[in-house]
Symmetry: C2
Subunit: 210 residues, 2 copies
């Protein structure tokens, strides 16, 4: 089974033009050089064909770095490119149905806000859980609800046996708090994609997690 | 292998309020009573979870009528609900990649406008082809190009060994022309979803195809 822990970098192609104008591949390689252990492709607006092409590209780059590769939402694209897994949100395919359609070693991640949801998703076959937003609402998810804080993550960690990662407003300053509450890793978008130097930003996050 | 022929009814939930206000299930049952042999769910705007629920519903209804059930675009949803197959357009997952990810008896349909494209898709593993628009541009596909006419379908039929169905502006009056050019069936949206009596409209189409 692929390990989901450490720095989990979420790459959204629509947000991949940082100050130095880097594209998808440049940013992916930079965060992997900086020590990210997982890349997730989150692509909400492109056609299936475009997502497939981007997923193929990231799949190949992650192999170069022996990093795990996860596709958000689209299980079919994850399977078609040989990704390590899929991440399913509450509006995506149900975890139980996805589990029944994939090989045992294919990773299914899911999003949980509370111990009750976390328990249910674990029972349905989720391999890891993302809990958020920890520090701030996620503009990337149109999420207007208030941040849950690292304590909410701690409650989920206590409730399940599968790995839990934190997401939402996490940076090198607050990442140690998330880990201290039991997370095995942190998922990050803004602190990486918005950084002038994504490699350096990734390295600082990896150092902060250790 | 499931048979793709006869009346192939495309059900788009966003177009399922006809004059009598029928919903998805009512219309599906009506066109199946009328003799449709295939139902395709085409759902371009809903969340993955909603598409999954609708696909589950249609999967179950099609079983009652021993009709085939195809999901447009989303291979993962097709697999998760146990559909008979998926239909992939040019903006969807490539046929070759989909073929590699599914069981041999899972049907993959694809859209071809010319013999060249048709040959390529057959070689990539497509089980049947849809050719269109035969009679009019498809507002459902944002398709502004002129209709190809039944002769274009005939050229595709001559070029491949897999079944070919026509689509685009087909009704009970012109369906016999499409069949006469070698189609094994006709795919229909408007003539069914827009009909006051979808069951009767389906029956007229089935009679016209025979």
């Amino acid at each position: 089974m692929v390990q989901i822990s450490g720095l989990y970098a979420i790459i959204d192609p629509s947000r991949c033009s940082n100050a130095s104008g880097s594209g998808l591949e440049t940013i992916a390689r930079a965060v992997l050089r900086g020590g990210a252990s997982v890349i997730q492709l989150r692509d909400k607006s492109s056609s299936g064909r475009q997502r497939f092409s981007r997923a193929q590209l990231l799949r190949s780059i992650c192999r170069d770095f022996e990093a795990s590769f996860i596709v958000n939402d689209r299980l079919d694209i994850a399977l078609a490119v040989g990704a390590d897994g899929v991440h399913l949100g509450p509006e995506d395919l149900p975890v139980r149905s996805a589990r029944a359609a994939v090989p045992d070693d294919f990773v299914i991640g899911a999003s949980a806000g509370t111990p009750e949801v976390a328990n249910r998703l674990e029972n349905q076959g989720a391999d890891y859980l993302g809990v958020g937003a920890i520090y701030e609402a996620r503009p990337s998810k149109g999420d207007a609800s208030p941040p849950r804080g690292p304590e909410a993550l701690g409650a989920v960690v206590d409730a399940v046996d599968i790995p839990v990662i934190g997401i939402g407003g996490i940076n090198a300053e607050n990442a140690p708090q998330v880990i201290a509450h039991g997370a095995c890793g942190v998922a990050v978008i803004r602190s990486l994609l918005g950084a002038d130097d994504p490699e350096r930003a990734a390295r600082q996050l990896v150092d902060a997690i250790r």
